[in-house]
């Protein structure tokens, strides 16, 4: 039920982000979701891509430091309160969200939330118990 997320270390220099997207584009890898966190010196780019292994290999080849993180993708109705109900549920169970990002699907009726939990397995168990729709990796990559 987990999703492989690619994390990339980026120095805050002009053109570094474009270098990543160029490599992925040339490799024919599609970006499904993206989040960029940054400080004054460096940033961490987090990506869900159509072909994790290929993207990782190409970026490593180009000298980037990359990591694999297991995240959880959740589908919620694209309406007010959708995210709040999930966060409340997690809070009650004492599961911490390290970070998260979201995107709205093209069809327009649901949003996808990507979560990084401090305890991933417990997080998945909690969501399943509450009948939350978890999107498995292979489905998400092919969306």
């Amino acid at each position: 039920m987990k999703v492989d997320q690619l994390s990339i270390f980026l120095e805050n220099r002009a053109g570094r982000l474009a270098e990543v997207t160029r490599i992925l584009s040339e490799a024919g890898v599609n970006i499904r979701a993206l989040s960029l966190a940054d400080t004054s010196d460096f940033g961490i780019l987090r990506l869900i891509v159509s072909d994790f292994e290929k993207a990782k290999a190409k970026l490593k080849e180009a000298g980037f430091t990359v990591g694999r993180t297991s995240v959880v993708a959740v589908e919620v109705n694209d309406q007010p309160g959708g995210l709040n109900s999930i966060l409340t549920m997690l809070q009650d169970a004492g599961i911490n969200v390290e970070y998260m990002y979201a995107f709205v699907q093209q069809s327009g009726d649901s949003a996808v939330l990507i979560f990084r939990f401090d305890r991933t397995d417990q997080g998945i168990e909690l969501l399943r118990k509450n009948d939350i729709n978890i999107i498995p990796g292979d489905k998400l990559y092919a969306m």
Partner: protein, 434 residues
């Protein structure tokens, strides 16, 4: 002109025979009189009588600066205290001071050696020497002073400071020779111009400069701005002071080492094995005649090459290339000695890995700043900002705690630190750029 024709132009075989005789006697003296050396010799399993050829010097133990500190103040002295007539010492601002003692004979030899240097630089007994090296515990001032007197020159014992007065006396006393640090020479020239005195128009014709590293570009600058010949003199207080080696005015191509008094070797700074002539290595000296504090294989940490080819000045002594680097990469940041290896140890201790790193030193106003750039690798990397920032602040805290220096730690991408010839360039020191 050569001051001591006999000793400065000895054929190689004669020089080596003289050095061997003195080396043997030195080993016997230190073994008998300096407990520190007896212990060192015994630990290496070497006896004074094992020295049969000059090459056997490599059997002997090294001496390092820390040994002098450990023996503070008088533990390295090889004669009873009543035979010591003078003491010099390093400032000790970065740890225990190192102390050196001279016998009457040492002081005489020192004067003779500096006199040789002055003549090699083009000075003579008829000249007046303006000595602007500091007098006191520092060896520069008194070393140059006694040398100028031994030469028979007239000395102006100016010492350091009072720059405008120095310029006035350069004009009024019209010295032929000046001794000071190269940077001070440039400062004198500038001050002179402010005072309306162009040093180029004075009779001054020779500058004997040492006590700090300088480049050929700086030499050209000094020669242009002062209208003199700028000569590089080399020495260190542990070995004697100024006068261990000097450039000759005739060639200005390497510094003649006073080989009848100091046996010079170059070694691989890592393995300690000797390197050949022409190959860069760490300069190591054995004092052949010193009585007060003779040293065996003292590691100077200065990097140079030795050149045994004959010099056009007629001297046969080996020449060392101008010193521009050190084997220990020591940096002084806001008065604190910092070795890149210490930073490396802290990085290893902090995250348990051997990262690529680089030290960048800048000067902002009068303050040095140190930035430690560390390349991120997969072991160090995390998808969370806070854990990378935790690494940065931990390294910063440990550097402050262990070295007493505040550093900015910056994580950078892999391979972003330049590799030169397969070896990482650890230091970028931008302080001395104009």
């Amino acid at each position: 002109m050569i001051y001591d024709v006999k000793n400065e132009t000895l054929p190689r075989e004669d020089m080596e025979a003289l050095q061997l005789r003195r080396l043997k006697s030195l080993c016997e003296r230190v073994y008998a009189n300096v407990p520190f050396y007896k212990k060192k010799f015994d630990e290496k399993g070497v006896k004074p009588q094992d020295i049969k050829t000059l090459k056997d010097v490599s059997l002997l133990p090294f001496t390092v600066k820390q040994d002098l500190r450990d023996q503070y103040p008088f533990g390295m002295f090889a004669v009873p205290k009543d035979q010591i007539v003078r003491i010099h010492s390093s400032s000790g601002t970065t740890g225990t001071a190192t102390v050196v003692g001279y016998t009457k004979r040492d002081i005489e030899n020192w004067g003779e050696l500096v006199a040789r240097c002055m003549m090699a630089a083009g000075a003579s007994a008829a000249d007046t020497v303006h000595n602007a090296y500091g007098y006191g515990l520092f060896t520069g001032g008194l070393g140059a002073h006694y040398g100028a007197e031994a030469l028979g020159a007239t000395v102006v014992p100016m010492s350091g400071g009072s720059t405008r007065r120095q310029v006035t006396l350069l004009k009024d006393f019209a010295p032929d020779v000046i001794c000071c640090t190269p940077s001070y020479a440039l400062f004198l020239a500038e001050t002179g111009l402010e005072m309306g005195i162009d040093i180029r128009e004075l009779p001054l014709r020779i500058g004997i400069f040492g006590a700090e590293p300088w480049t050929n570009e700086m030499r050209a600058d000094i020669e242009k701005k002062l209208g003199i010949t700028a000569i590089d003199i080399y020495g260190l207080s542990e070995i004697m002071g100024p006068g261990v080696a000097i450039e000759c005015a005739a060639a200005q191509d390497g510094l003649h080492i006073q080989e009848d008094h100091f046996l010079a070797e170059t070694i691989d700074p890592v393995s300690g094995e000797p390197v050949g002539p022409g190959e860069e290595g760490e300069l190591v000296f054995t004092t052949l005649t010193k009585e007060g504090i003779p040293l065996i294989r003292y590691r100077t940490r200065d990097l140079t090459t030795l050149n045994y080819t004959p010099c056009k000045c007629g001297r046969t002594t080996v020449r060392m290339r101008r010193v521009t680097g050190r084997s220990d990469d020591m940096l002084i940041i806001r008065g604190v000695n910092v070795f890149p290896s210490q930073i490396e140890s802290i990085l290893i201790d902090t995250e348990g890995l051997t990262p690529h790193y680089q030290l960048i030193i800048e000067r902002q106003g009068n303050l040095d700043t140190l930035e430690v750039q560390v390349e991120v690798n997969e072991a160090l990397f995390s998808d969370e900002i806070k854990s990378l920032q935790r690494v940065e602040s931990k390294v910063m805290k440990n550097i402050k705690e262990f070295l007493g220096v505040t550093a900015k730690v910056k994580l950078v991408e892999p391979k972003s630190i330049e590799r030169s010839l397969g070896k990482a360039k650890r230091i970028i020191d931008n302080r001395h750029k104009d």
